[in-house]
Subunit: 196 residues, 4 copies
């Protein structure tokens, strides 16, 4: 027998929606850890099998719920002012992190990914890497425009710009606010040779 994968064409949209809604509701109420698949199934009025059939793990279910709810900004803007463009993007992330529902949910997701390699890969592929690439494209453009040093290692640049965000997200010693956004972008850009 090859794989016995279910037929997406016959999938019940009603169930899919109910499961994602229940997931969103319960993850906000109980947190990722305390939210059991059983509880999601019960809250959604759905059989457990229907969840197991379509999602490989609770983490991936969360990620799917995320994809549904959050419109992840695609390409970076390019106004010619690289500092301003970066601030817009990072400010978007900060707002997400401060959302009372999505913030904890994002933290949970990153947390779960630490002991679920498949979820981590999915998270990197669907969210993290695309954003990093977009950021690097914008920085490359800034190099061409002569706004930042040509020799700089863009991975390092990304760490300078985004690392602070993740640092404060997972180890919240300090607030994530607008002052943070402006400070981090300005200092990071100066680090990589921008004349501000």
């Amino acid at each position: 027998m090859p794989e016995r994968s279910p037929d997406p064409a016959r999938r019940s949209e009603r169930s899919r929606t109910a499961i994602l809604s229940a997931t969103r509701k319960l993850s906000a109420e109980l947190g990722y850890q305390a939210m059991s698949i059983e509880a999601i199934a019960a809250a959604a009025g759905v059989g457990k099998q229907t969840i197991y059939r379509w999602w490989p793990s609770k983490g991936v279910l969360m990620l799917d719920m995320w994809g549904e709810q959050v419109q992840l900004q695609g390409e970076f803007p390019d106004t010619g002012d690289v500092a301003a463009d970066l601030k817009v993007q990072i400010r978007g992330l900060v707002e997400l992190a401060n959302d009372p529902e999505l913030g904890p949910s994002l933290r949970s997701l990153i947390g779960a990914a630490q002991h679920e390699p498949a979820l981590l890969e999915e998270l990197l592929t669907s969210i993290v890497r695309p954003r990093i690439e977009a950021c690097k494209r914008r920085l490359r453009k800034a190099q061409e425009d002569g706004q930042i040093n040509r020799g700089v290692d863009l991975d390092i640049a990304v760490d300078l710009l985004y690392g602070g965000f993740y640092h404060r997200l997972v180890l919240p010693v300090t607030r994530l606010d607008d002052a943070f956004v402006n400070g981090i972008v300005d200092e990071a850009l100066r680090g990589i040779g921008a004349t501000l």
Copy 2:
């Protein structure tokens, strides 16, 4: 009835040590999540109650093990060369992350803390905040020495220096290696006004 707390004077050192060793071993093998109290007790040749008696949660047990096993570098060195001093410290962290036993264990721990507020608080208090403060003390000294700008926000500086590490730890898109250490410190310091 007051609390019925056990008497630390009569505590068995033998058991305490065996439990912490088993925790170290199992957290590396299985990760924080999959490591059960039952398994720790069995591996340590100890009754479960002995674990529950002395530790309020698996997370705190992990932190205790960490405190025991890892010589957490206390104060920053001060050789006069702030860049070199920072590199030593961050290189230490990177080595920890790349240790086959402690690295996975640290990632696991940070992951679990994302949905366990009590664990997070304990982690911040016992490990993260002391290190950040030590770093800020060193940076303040560098300001006094005229090596970096006096006006710079030290929290931002810490994010520039350490954020990249956590970024690459929890979302491992890029390697944590020596090139990273040198790159991040040099660029970050330039960002905060060091003349390298």
Copy 3:
């Protein structure tokens, strides 16, 4: 919420049988007291929940096993010879008591019932009282047939006939054998006015 009782239609016959067999085996080996639900589940290759789902207590499980395994002689035979009929019945009990598996199990059960009122009640209702009533019906018939005195108190008669069995079962000073059966019935019947 009403009761959340399981659906007997979906019950696994395989598990039910395995549990009852394991109970029979273990109660003989270990006795009622020392036989744990965990051990039954393990021996039956069954989840503990499956036992808890269908039986309210270990005692009821034991009684169920008994009902299953032992062909509890229902009505007394009526050959016209009351002495012979009684001997058949009591000899059956004696054989049960001497069975290497069921004997210890029965003693265990009666023993446990001495400090578990609910178990005692269940035992009386499901096993003891029906047998006593059957015996009394047979004795009443014998009274009508003029084989024993009409005035005799049937509860006393039952004690004369069955008391010796329980005496020797729980306080085994003397053997339970065929001589016992014949002796007790003959003397008891003479006591209550039979002309043998």
Copy 4:
């Protein structure tokens, strides 16, 4: 090392008494089953070890407490009227069984003996067998006096006389009262050839 048995000479009478009292009190309050060694120790103000040191099991402790509290009637009276003498003795047993403290305690003891061979042996030796022998001596006397048949098996006679008591004690379908005492003795004696 040979046996490491404690030295009875150094035994604390204070503790022994306190333990037996606590046992009596708790067995009446909670019943045999629910009465834990821990609770006895706590109630007696005694270390658990002191109990384990001097008694091999809870059942034997109960038996000891019994021996302390109950003055077990020794020899049967011999008034010349065997029926009357037997009724006195059995009435004594019935009163014991109906005592609100000693009755449950006796039942518990018999119950526990069903899965504790050592306790059973102790119980038979210290209480049951001596009483049976005394009864048989009295019956033998009655045979000599021509009050009952010479050929009768005395073990059977004992079962007829005492069996009813144990039957009603361990499987209390019917009351243990004076009518029972009179009925059982009269019918039993008639069974074994007494002319009443």
